[in-house]
Symmetry: C2
Subunit: 495 residues, 2 copies
């Protein structure tokens, strides 16, 4: 077929797959947000039907042939087509290396393991999940061997979430970060000693209104988006103009819902800023999990936990919590929003200690994959690492090695994205401050237009054109490193 | 192929189509309940993609061949298979008689006409919709000719919503009903003269809780269902264990949301009571729009607007509206819930005058289809019929001939179902009272178990096994008529 015909076939199929993925995302959103519990089995069937349909349409020989032929002439294509063909080729090459029986076994084992984990976690019963985890580690290793890798088997897993990411890059980067953080955490934590709890009652209704107000101020459009309530906050895209975020409310502390909302808004602002003319193709998609996480964290932390933001927030509060707001001047708000303290649970960790949770996980999953660490030794290794990197020891499994769903759902290699997101956002924020004069003053008066405009210009509009490290080099002229992040923490907390 | 192989192919396809229909229903539910407005275009594309997929899988030659071959040996099949083959044969025979260009033109015209109506209605601009309506009437007439009919073209339209229903049956039935109602409406309306409005402020939150309580008492299970808020209340099924209803709230009158909820709960109780072992096949589906409407109305009116129900309700109210409840003894509640008064708007009409709105519409759409009434003469004919059947004349188009979406969305032949539902439910209620001793006392104490059990036994569990008139004859020994309904109204309101 001619290149023109191949491109037509290629884009028609991408557009169909995009439509199917959006519908599948709606099935999942509804599942998490509103679906009655009794509908779980039928919804699982609907989701499975969709997965199979999407898979079949992806590995359809006619489509694969077009992808291969286009890839052979890639250099002669327009820029956007080059990027799209490169990324889709990468994705389908993985997809076709996986035998059907492998995909089926992986999916079934993950599902059984997940159910076992849901039951075993509250009972601190690691033994109950151990055989599943052992099987999932073996399946992940088999995945690496099937897909292939140049240097290290763990690379095959990293690459899933962050195309091109290598163990040889991420391991020294994160272990170095871990050492830096070990040095500064005690000094920073000391500054928050004696800080009490927020006082007052913050009704869910008022919190919801405040969250919507702040999200809208940041640039989240409610004409093409929604904010709902779920146990586990998330962001999902249901179409080129349909972005949904969720949060959860605690009536004794409005900051949890608020910062959760800011985090998810950051993810949504990235998706809203991707070029719609390329919707459904890699040129209209996020680069990687790490860059996605940089976009949520940049709003949550360097922007949202700054003194200037707390000043903006303190002016809003009286409209939502009349009585409680009286005790919350910008300085107190800043302290409550920034409290640094080593703790057991990753998702509740502060800006400074957060990355240690990731360093620990990376240092455990890499040897799990190579076979240097056995699953039976994992709980002890977990506790030792917490002792070393955070100076605390989990009293049980539930808040220790069993706290995150990732491994028990079959996912290894995702965690590093969370830390890389922080490194990226610190480098970006440094560059944003350098190129937007008066950014801090704008943030203080609740004007986030320049900040969002800068991210759109430098990050969002490129889709998958660049890999993460290439993008950050274009923006800052520097290689990805932990330097800006550690420096930012030192300046912010140690003056 | 052998019958066994054909049955396998037949049921596999029905199961796939069911899954697709459920997902399509979710797309629609989300559209009406939560979707941000900016997502409309992409959602329309997703819906169109689904319609095409469903259509293609329905008219797939291999499937049609199996249906035809099974239909040839229908008498030799098991009972459930017989019913399923009969109904699917009926549906696909219609589907394959419609050329693709016809379906496309119909769909496009309906969509344009709907948009024109949305804009023209508030402006009372019938001229703006007239050309669309003329085209839709012609397309509906062409539909009748393509699909075919034995006696009357309007039969082809009626049959869409109520399989087997004939103009020769429905027209005398409803015109007779119209005459009966003309005689009793003035006498009944007189009894409500001077009744004021409810007083008090009924917060949406408390109304929502009350609606959930009443729906649960009726038998609606929130483990497999939800109640949400929309401008236009509806009920939809998203899977074998996923039933969603919606209502809307007015803070000056809680009865509107409550009776809306009871109505939609009635629809949901029917769907919840269909045999799950046949889910996705006609044996697990509702008989017709009329029978569906009988199930919503039986709870809303003969049960929900009875003196006994008002007594049950008056005992609940203090928990939801402490102050307001003081003025609402069972008798006052009954009067507010039953106020009879000729009015312009069908969806706001009371139990007695409601059917007149339907009689009028049927008497207009039948000659529209035959060509005996032109669209340009429709507004005048509308007003004359309102004068004759309800003694009032619409002051404008918006609350007159332009009030309902049906015609402007291309749907003719649906309206009669609404009236037939009332006739069916009156006959059913008579039979239920005869076979459940103490039913009124049970309702008074909020125990609806026997009532629901009786409907499940006599209506729900049969799926599409019988046609509506056959079902009612099995239950009551009588032919479908307006007698029970008119008698019920006379006893209730004129003593």
């Amino acid at each position: 077929m001619s290149t023109t015909e191949n491109l037509k076939l290629f884009y028609n199929r991408l557009s169909e797959l995009y439509r199917l993925r959006c519908i599948s995302a709606l099935l999942d959103w509804d599942h998490q947000v509103y679906m009655p519990s009794g509908a779980a089995q039928a919804r699982a069937d609907q989701q499975e039907y969709f997965s199979i349909t999407i898979h079949n349409k992806t590995v359809d020989p006619e489509f694969l042939r077009a992808v291969d032929e286009l890839n052979d002439v890639r250099d002669s294509l327009e820029l956007a087509d080059q990027v799209n063909v490169r990324e889709i080729k990468r994705q389908v090459d993985i997809e076709r290396k996986l035998p059907e029986e492998f995909t089926a076994e992986f999916s079934q084992t993950s599902s059984l393991s997940y159910s076992a984990w849901v039951k075993a976690r509250p009972e601190n019963d690691f033994k109950a999940v151990q055989p599943y985890l052992e099987k999932l580690v073996r399946l992940n290793r088999r995945f690496c061997d099937l897909v292939g890798y140049e240097e290290h088997p763990y690379d095959a897993l990293l690459d899933q979430h962050d195309p091109g990411l290598k163990t040889s890059v991420v391991k020294p980067l994160l272990t170095g970060l871990g050492e830096d953080l070990r040095r500064i955490i005690p000094q920073i934590a000391e500054k928050f000693e004696g800080l009490g709890e927020l006082s007052g009652h913050f009704t869910q209704g008022s919190q919801h209104e405040l969250c919507k107000k702040v999200a809208a101020d940041l640039g989240f459009s409610f004409e093409i988006g929604r904010l709902d309530t779920t146990a586990h906050p998330f962001m999902t895209t249901l179409g080129p103009r349909d972005f949904r975020i969720t949060t959860r409310y605690f009536e004794d502390n409005f900051l949890r819902a608020l910062y959760g909302t800011i985090h998810e808004s950051g993810h949504a602002l990235y998706e809203m800023g991707l070029p719609t003319e390329y919707a459904g193709t890699p040129m209209g998609e996020a680069i990687s999990s790490s860059i996605h996480e940089s976009q949520s964290r940049i709003w949550e932390n360097p922007v949202g936990r700054s003194r200037e933001f707390c000043s903006y927030l303190s002016k809003l509060l009286p409209d939502y919590f009349h009585e409680e707001a009286k005790a919350l001047d910008p300085e107190m708000l800043w302290r409550y929003a920034n409290r640094v303290e080593p703790s057991l649970i990753r998702i509740e960790a502060d800006e400074v200690t957060y990355c240690q949770h990731i360093v620990i996980r990376m240092l455990l999953e890499e040897p799990l994959v190579t076979g240097d660490l056995s699953v039976s030794d994992l709980p002890a290794a977990w506790n030792e690492h917490y002792e070393k990197y955070l100076g605390i020891r989990p009293p049980d499994m539930k808040d220790g090695v069993m706290q995150d769903v990732h491994w028990y759902g079959g996912s290894l290699g995702y965690f590093p994205s969370y830390a890389l997101g922080n490194l990226y956002n610190a480098m970006m924020m440094e560059a944003a401050h350098a190129s937007i004069p008066g950014l801090s003053t704008q943030i203080e008066r609740g004007d986030f237009t320049s900040m969002l405009g800068w991210l759109r210009e430098n990050v969002h509009r490129h889709g998958m054109r660049y890999r993460g490290p290439e993008l950050i080099k274009n923006i800052t002229g520097k290689e990805l490193s932990a330097k800006a992040f550690v420096e930012y923490l030192k300046v912010k907390f140690l003056g």
